[in-house]
């Protein structure tokens, strides 16, 4: 009997310690996450940041279902709050709004179990702005007057055009951040990119920082 009482007592104290410590850690993490999270390009429907962050349960279903492998996951480098959330990965694929795979209804949005990805009723590829393409002029072969126009031809929205010297320019009002240009950019293969492996001379940047 004495034995049992002691156990029961010990359990109570440990229960309290574990429970409180656990809760404190959770609250600490909740506070920490406000610092140091960066903007990333979200799949279609994830453009309202507050809406997205409050609902995403990091299940990665959108990433898995994307027929173009255009969705990757954000890493710790993108900030604590973004870890395991979807982030467009244009080096592997670009977003065609599932035109081919699902008649223009993005599969990621319909797969999201919590509607963290949510498109308005009248959403069209032209109105959902994932990000804006930005050209790194010192890496771009076209800007080194080498006549490269691969991104210009790849853009489904005619949002990139060549200037008088045949250098590509992004028309920001037409770009929706689909990533076709970043996907085809050959600057990496041609060795004009310095730094990270997935670097491209044209990259889609999230709206706020673009």
């Amino acid at each position: 009997m004495v034995d049992m009482e002691q156990t029961a007592h010990g359990m109570m104290r440990r229960t309290f310690v574990f429970g409180t410590a656990g809760c404190l850690v959770l609250f600490g993490m909740g506070g920490l996450a406000y610092m140091g999270s960066t903007e990333v390009c979200r799949p279609p429907g994830g453009q309202d940041d507050d809406h997205f962050t409050s609902l995403c349960i990091h299940c990665e279903k959108c990433r898995e279902i994307c027929p173009n492998s255009a969705i990757g996951t954000a890493h710790i480098e993108d900030g604590l709050l973004n870890v395991r959330t979807p982030k467009m990965a244009y080096s592997y694929g670009w977003c065609d709004f599932c035109e081919e795979a699902n008649a223009g209804v993005p599969l990621c949005e319909s797969a999201c179990p919590t509607t963290a990805l949510l498109l308005p009723e009248d959403a069209r590829p032209e109105t959902v702005i994932i990000g804006k393409a930005v050209i790194n002029r010192s890496w771009c072969l076209g800007w080194q007057l080498m006549g490269c126009r691969i991104c210009v031809d790849a853009c489904p929205y005619q949002a990139i055009e060549l200037d008088g010297d045949k250098r590509p320019m992004v028309k920001e009002d037409l770009c929706n951040g689909c990533g076709a240009c970043e996907n085809v950019c050959v600057s990496m293969e041609n060795g004009s990119v310095n730094g990270e492996e997935s670097g491209r001379a044209i990259v889609v940047e999230p709206l706020e920082s673009a």
């Binding site: 359990m11 229960t15 429970g19 993490m29 996450a33 609902l55 990091h58 279903k61 898995e64 509607t115």
Partner: protein
């Protein structure tokens, strides 16, 4: 031929789940992992993640509520079976020394009980009476309320512990900070995330610090805090709360076979075998009530006379 131990069968099922998720990742089936599995209406969702998301966004989302309802029904039927059969965490834990030691202790205990019973039935005298007598002395405490050889009839009470506190903290933090905080550290999610990161490392050569950080968090959670399932996991806590209303697949003892009721033995093997701290014979006196049962079938496996079963519907008694 020896029957496969249920412990190994469970490991096999859980491994199959991990493999299925990995195959799904490769083949782009969109079946997802355990955070949200299935397609369309035939889908489930992690109830802790779903509740956190609903609280964080302060909206009711039909899609999520339907998936939650599916999960609630599954838990009402199968209780915490997820914990024993699907969750990848026990796969890791079974290699930890604590778990191996417990298994060995149980083996010794089983041998001694069987010896005692067989000796007392063969009506040996003094020496056995003494060992038997000593055992009764030892065990009296735990049987005080209902007396030796009878079954506790009162239903098992639900008992709250630190996991339930953390469940509260999980939901509250989601509501306060406006995002599902627990998802960031959930070892189940991190296991599947690490699996994916390793796959992408080999498939695309994608490197990230996360590839180091996730395993480190996992190791911290599972090795340093060995008692994750027992003391911390809010998912287990939530399932145990829902399972309180469940009447199906509850462990049932056949009194005609049970050594305690048929032979007056003080066998407690099923109680010792239970990883959830349930004493099937005396649920009221045990650390946890039957609502915590994870249907792991350890008690069924351990019972020397095969007296325990988990009937789909409770037998009238």
């Amino acid at each position: 031929m020896r029957r496969m131990k249920v412990r190994n069968l469970r490991a096999l099922v859980a491994t199959f789940v991990v493999l299925a998720v990995a195959i799904g990742y490769v083949t782009v089936t969109g079946l997802g992992n355990v955070c949200a599995a299935g397609v369309g209406l035939v889908s489930s969702i992690c109830p802790v993640g779903a509740l956190s998301a609903l609280l964080a966004s302060k909206t009711l989302i039909p899609r999520t509520l339907v998936a939650l309802a599916v999960v609630a029904v599954l838990i009402l039927i199968f209780g915490r079976a997820f914990c024993a059969w699907i969750c990848p965490i026990p796969l890791v834990q079974r290699w930890l020394p604590d778990h191996r030691r417990r298994a060995q202790e149980l083996e010794v205990e089983t041998k001694s009980v069987i010896e005692t019973v067989s000796r007392s039935t063969s009506e040996d005298t003094d020496a056995d009476a003494r060992t038997g007598g000593k055992r009764i002395e030892d065990e009296k405490g735990s049987c005080a309320s209902c007396g030796e050889g009878t079954t506790c009839t009162a239903g098992a009470k639900m008992k709250l512990d630190s996991r339930h506190l953390i469940l509260g903290g999980t939901l509250l933090s989601a509501a306060v900070f406006g995002f599902p905080v627990f998802c960031l550290v959930c070892p189940i999610g991190l296991t599947f995330a690490t699996l994916l990161l390793v796959m992408r490392l080999f498939a695309f050569g994608e490197t990230t610090w996360t590839l180091l950080v996730f395993p480190v968090i996992l190791i911290l959670e599972l090795v340093v805090f060995r008692t994750w399932c027992r003391r911390i996991c809010p998912l287990g806590a939530l399932m145990s709360l829902i399972a309180g209303a469940s009447k199906t697949f509850r462990p049932h003892i056949d009194d005609e076979r049970c050594l305690v009721t048929s032979k007056g033995s003080l066998c407690r093997i099923c109680a010792k075998a239970c990883p959830e701290g349930i004493d099937v014979r005396h649920p009221d006196l045990s650390r946890h009530g039957v609502n915590e049962c994870s249907k792991c079938l350890e008690c069924v496996d351990a019972c020397p006379v095969h007296a325990i079963s988990l009937p789909p519907v409770p037998s009238r008694k």
